[in-house]
Every structure is written in C-alpha cells, then in structure tokens.
C-alpha cells in the first residue's frame, strides 16, 4: 500500500507569533519554522504502517515556497521514502491545497492519504475534508486510532462526548488528532540518509491546477493585551466582584 502524507510548514509552536506592523500578516522574519505538529503525527502514523508491513511506500508532500524543503527533509529523516514539493510563491488556501493534492493523488494513486486535522497557523481544518470531497473518497477525520484490514480502514474519531469508530473503504482520507501517536525523534543516521532519498519538485502549472487565492485578507492584528489583574482582600470581595462587576455568577 502506498501512503501519501501532506505536510505544512508553519511557525514553530514554541514561537510567540507577532503581527507585522502593516497588519498584512504574521511576521515571519527570522522566525523558527517547523512541520505542523498534526502533520508530524500523520508522518509518524504512516511510518508505523510501513514498519508494521501494512504500507510499502510513504510519500511526503508539501506545497509552498522552496523553504518547505526543510520540512520535507525532516519527514524523510523521520522515515518517509520520498518527497514531493509543489513549489509555488502563492499563499495557498485549503481549497487550492486540496485541488493540488487531488492532482498528485491522481498521479500517484495512493490508497491512503493521512494529513493533519488542521494547521496551527490558520487553524482552517478544511483541507482533508475538501480533498476527500474532490476525490469522492470516504473520510475519517480527527483520528485517534486507525486499523487497516481487508481493504478497509477503521478510524476511531474523537467527537464531542466520546469516541466514534467508522469503517471506510480504501482508498480513503484520514486526518489526525493529537492523541493518534507520539512522533519519534529523527536519528542522526536517518538525517544523513534523508539527503539521498528521492526528491521531486512540481509546480501548480505542471499539475494543471489554478491554486490562486479566493479569500482576501483585510488585516491581521494581535489580540488586545490582557489588562493587569487585581488582588482582592477576601473571598467576599471576590464574590461581590464576580456578581456585580464581571457578572459571571448571580
């Protein structure tokens, strides 16, 4: 089985994000970038499928500028077999990404596409669902456990109030939740081996996809600063303030 793992380059989750002074977007100068944590979970799951003998090949793919190579190399160092970069300067949106991925799926014919449920930068949570729709594939979103047997994949989903397990026919699209697995560290030998693995670069034009944005961003601004708190002298005073000032209890 072939597994395709789309990954996104995002600001590292440890970084305190700042908006650019002209409010056109987040400030990315000199900021540490990383694989989106949910995508990393997707990579890990695909590698585990390969280690278990269920998958034969794991292909990592990213869409964006040349800088995304760094994250694809990380995916290769974690254990992906080969990488594809769809290189574009366009700020791609979920629908554009889904269309590009669809074109790659048609070329590569993977039986399973595992991707993060959302990216921690724009928190869209759309790409996996859109991709499944465009491909007319079944989808299992927010997976906390997957099990593949007899041409089907059972996906345990984290839903409000509990867990739901759905059984999908392959090929299928699965999006990962936080508890699916704990990603490994890339080892030094694997980092060195990653350089020798196949790496292809494509463009949206080659895939015949128009990925131009459909959403106009008006402005990006930081949330209002939290005002400093006050120290109350007694529980009574606290209750009084919660009742009359904050009006959160009655």
């Amino acid at each position: 089985m072939k597994v395709l793992v789309p990954i996104k380059r995002v600001i590292d989750f440890n970084v305190k994000v700042r908006a650019k002074s002209d409010e056109t977007g987040p400030d990315l100068t000199n900021v540490k970038m990383a694989i989106n944590p949910f995508c990393e979970i997707a990579v890990e799951e695909a590698i585990r499928l390969k280690e278990a003998g269920t998958a034969q090949e794991v292909i990592a793919i990213s869409i964006g500028t040349n800088a995304c190579k760094e994250q694809l190399r990380t995916a290769l160092a974690l254990g992906a077999d080969r990488a594809i970069l769809v290189e574009t300067e366009i700020e791609v949106e979920p629908l554009g990404v889904a269309k590009l991925l669809k074109a790659v799926v048609e070329r590569e014919q993977p039986e399973l596409i595992i991707l993060g449920k959302q990216a921690i930068d724009d928190d869209s949570n759309q790409t996996g669902q859109m991709l499944a729709s465009l491909l007319s594939y079944p989808q299992g979103t927010f997976a906390s456990k997957i099990k593949i047997e007899k041409g089907k994949i059972n996906v345990t989903r984290e839903v409000d109030g509990g867990l739901q397990t759905v059984s999908l026919d392959l090929p299928a699209v699965v999006t990962t939740d936080l508890r699916l697995n704990e990603p490994r560290y890339a080892s030094l030998p694997n980092i060195m081996k990653a350089k020798k693995k196949p790496f292809d670069t494509l463009t949206p034009e080659e895939l015949n996809v128009d990925a131009s944005p459909r959403i106009e961003i008006l402005k990006v601004s930081p949330p209002p600063e939290r005002p400093t708190g006050i120290i109350v002298n007694s529980v009574d005073e606290l209750i009084e303030k919660l009742k009359n000032e904050a009006k959160v209890i009655s």
Binding site: R73, T74, A77, Y185, A186, S187, L188, P189, I191, M192, A194, K195
Partner: protein, 386 residues
C-alpha cells in the same frame, strides 16, 4: 570561508535541541537533587546516535566530525550539563577503542557502546597523578597471556555504573613512554569501587575511585601498542577538551536565555530591570563573550577535523577560554536573577555549580595555559596563529 551551518548541521542542531528540551531540561533539576544517573535517557540518546558521534561508521558510530559533534553537544548541554558531559566522556573513551582497539575488541564492545546499551568510563587520573598525568603509578605487568593490573584511579565519572573502563596503566619505564591503554570489563575480578563522591556540581553522574588489585586480563585487552597509552590519552583529550568547552557554551547559552527573559519580566523601581543600563551592558558583554568563545571552540574543532598540526594548541585555547567564559556568563546570569538566582527553584545556581568543574578537568585551565605558552615560545610559533 563560511561561518554558516550546513543543512545537515542545522538538522543535527534541531534534533539535539528538541531532545534537550523534551528529555533533559524538564528532569535536570530532579536528577541533580537526587543524584540520579539517568541511564534510561542516555540509552534514548544512544538510539538517536548521540553516544557515538565521532566514532567510525564501520564500528557502528555516526562518523561525524568534531565540529558536527560540537554543534550537537552544545544543544544537549542546554538541557542538562552533567548528563551531556557524561555522554561526551563516553564518546571520547569509545573513540579510543574504535580508533586504536583490535578488531576483536571492537567487535565485542563497539556495537553495544555505540548504541548506548553499554557505557564506558575513562580512567587516567590517580590520587597522586592529576595534572601530572604522566607520573601515574597503576601498573600492568605481563604474565604469560595476561596482564596483571594493580593501582588506583580517582575522579572516575560513571564508575560503578558503567559497563567497562578505558584505563591507562604503566607497562614500562617512568614517564609518558611507559604507559599503555587497556579496556577492562567493569565487573572483572579484583576491581573495587569507592564511595560515591559528594560534589559541587555534575551531581547526577556518580564519581568514584577505582581500585585494582591483581586484576587479570588477556593481552588482547590492550588498546593500541604497549607504550602508546599516553599518546592515545592526549589525542583523545584534544577532542575531550572541545567537548567540555562545548558543554560550557551550551550551558552559558541557557543561562543567557533565562537572564534575557528575566530582564524583560522582572520589575523594580517601577520599571523592567532590562531598562537599567548596568544590566544591559552586562547582557551585552555576556553575549559578546559567549559568541567569541563559541567560535573559538568551533575553530578548534575544525582544526581537529582537518588534522591540523597545531590542533592541540587550539583545543587548549578553546577549552581555557570557553570554560572561563562559560562560568562567568552563568555566574553573571545568576547575578541578574538576584536572590532568586541563588535558589534551587531556578536553574542558575545549578548552571554555575555544573560548569565550575569544566575549568578543572580534562586538564586544568592552568595546564591549558602551559600547553599554549610553551608552544608559543618555540621559534616561529607566533606564525601559527595567523
């Protein structure tokens, strides 16, 4: 000339940083307080390749250069100085086995040492032979197919909890030419370990004396040739000095990270303490000196990688400078924290305690100055530093 890290080096740096952040830093204070030797985490480090950084690939090592190793060690030491320092000693002693050991010896020991499943201690210092290491008195006398070893070694990192020892003993005449290098299984008959020393820093790794009384080992446990021991020890120490210097750099970086954050948070006299010029100048000097020290260490590592004839002098300069600067930076960072820096609730006092010993071991900084000074007095020597 390019001072930038290569793509690989950046990837190594990232993974070491992540490991330090997740596996070392959250536990370092507890290991220190409980004097706990984190063998399991060291094994985990071994899984990633950190136990055999510059050991040859054919022996199961990573085959990296000293510069690569320094970049990795620096990141690890930001998480836990003492654990990282032990890892570097393991790396150094293992390198001696891989570089000078017989094929049989390597086959037997290298795989498990490279993966970190087994650990090695390095035994050179004796109660009466510290800086003057060539005066060591532990003896190894040949008796048929065996050597019989007698004597004692002191300040041995990991001793009592490692699986083997790389040990220097006298097989011949007085002085450096009579010293040979041996590998000893840690549990061999006739070996005894002293009590765990109570130390100022490096508290999470055990330090003990090792006493040998009529320890018999087959001649095949000799590493290199008879009489080659001191040369092996000194060659290993060139790298060892870079490693220790690097541990000071990484710790100092962690101290600066903490101090910078604190200066932007802590308020006194109605403003952030970072707004006081006295502290700004302090931070500026700490940063400048740390960067200078880091690059001297990387330069020295490059000299070893390129087998430069003056690698020893560069290593000595790097070790002297980086460990002095590292201590000062940690100490100044503690000062910025004021009273809180003195509390164990914050990591600053541990940083200071841990890096202090780097000015003493792997050759004291006074010995480093002797190495540099003697070399510089030789004819034409001032040319070498250009």
């Amino acid at each position: 000339m390019d001072f930038n890290l290569s793509e690989d080096q950046q990837a190594f740096q990232n993974i070491a940083k992540e490991f330090a952040k997740k596996e070392l830093a959250p536990n370092a204070a507890e290991w220190d307080a409980k004097s706990e030797f984190p063998v399991e985490v060291i094994k985990k480090a071994g899984d990633l390749g950190f136990c055999s950084l510059y050991v040859a690939e054919e022996d199961g090592g990573m085959g990296l250069g000293r510069l690569d190793a320094s970049i990795i060690i620096e990141q690890l030491s930001t998480g836990c100085t003492s654990t990282t320092a032990f890892l570097t000693i393991h790396n150094m002693a293992l390198w001696m086995i891989s570089e000078f050991g017989s094929d049989d010896l390597k086959k037997q020991w290298c795989p498990s040492l490279c993966s970190g499943k087994k650990l090695v201690s390095y035994c050179l210092t004796e109660p009466g032979a510290g800086s003057d290491a060539a005066s060591l008195r532990t003896t190894a006398k040949k008796n048929g197919d065996n050597y019989v070893l007698n004597g004692s070694k002191s300040f041995i990192s990991g001793a009592g909890e490692t699986d083997c020892l790389v040990l220097m003993a006298r097989t011949g005449k007085e002085g450096p030419g009579g010293i040979s290098c041996f590998l000893l299984p840690a549990d061999i008959k006739g070996i005894e370990y002293g009590k765990k020393e109570e130390k100022m820093g490096w508290r999470n790794q055990p330090t003990r004396t090792v006493s040998l009384s009529d320890v018999e080992i087959p001649v095949s446990y000799l590493i290199g040739e008879e009489g080659q021991g001191f040369k092996i020890a000194m060659q290993g120490l060139d790298g060892g000095r870079i490693n220790i210097a690097t541990c000071s750099i990484g710790t100092a970086q962690a101290a600066i990270d903490a101090a910078q954050k604190y200066m932007n948070e802590r308020e006194q006299f109605g403003k952030k303490i970072g707004e006081f010029q006295a502290l700004q100048f302090k931070l500026a000097d700490m940063t400048t000196e740390l960067v200078a020290a880091r690059h001297l260490v990387r330069l020295a590592a490059t000299k070893i990688d390129s087998k430069h004839p003056e690698a020893t002098v560069y290593s000595a300069m790097a070790k002297r400078f980086a460990t002095d600067i590292g201590f000062n930076v940690c100490n100044e960072a503690l000062q910025i924290f004021g009273g809180y820096g003195y509390l164990q609730e914050f990591p600053l006092e541990r940083y200071v305690r841990d890096v202090r010993v780097h000015q003493i071991l792997e050759g004291t900084n006074e010995i480093m100055r002797m190495i540099i000074g003697r070399r510089m007095l030789m004819e034409g020597a001032t040319e070498i530093i250009q």
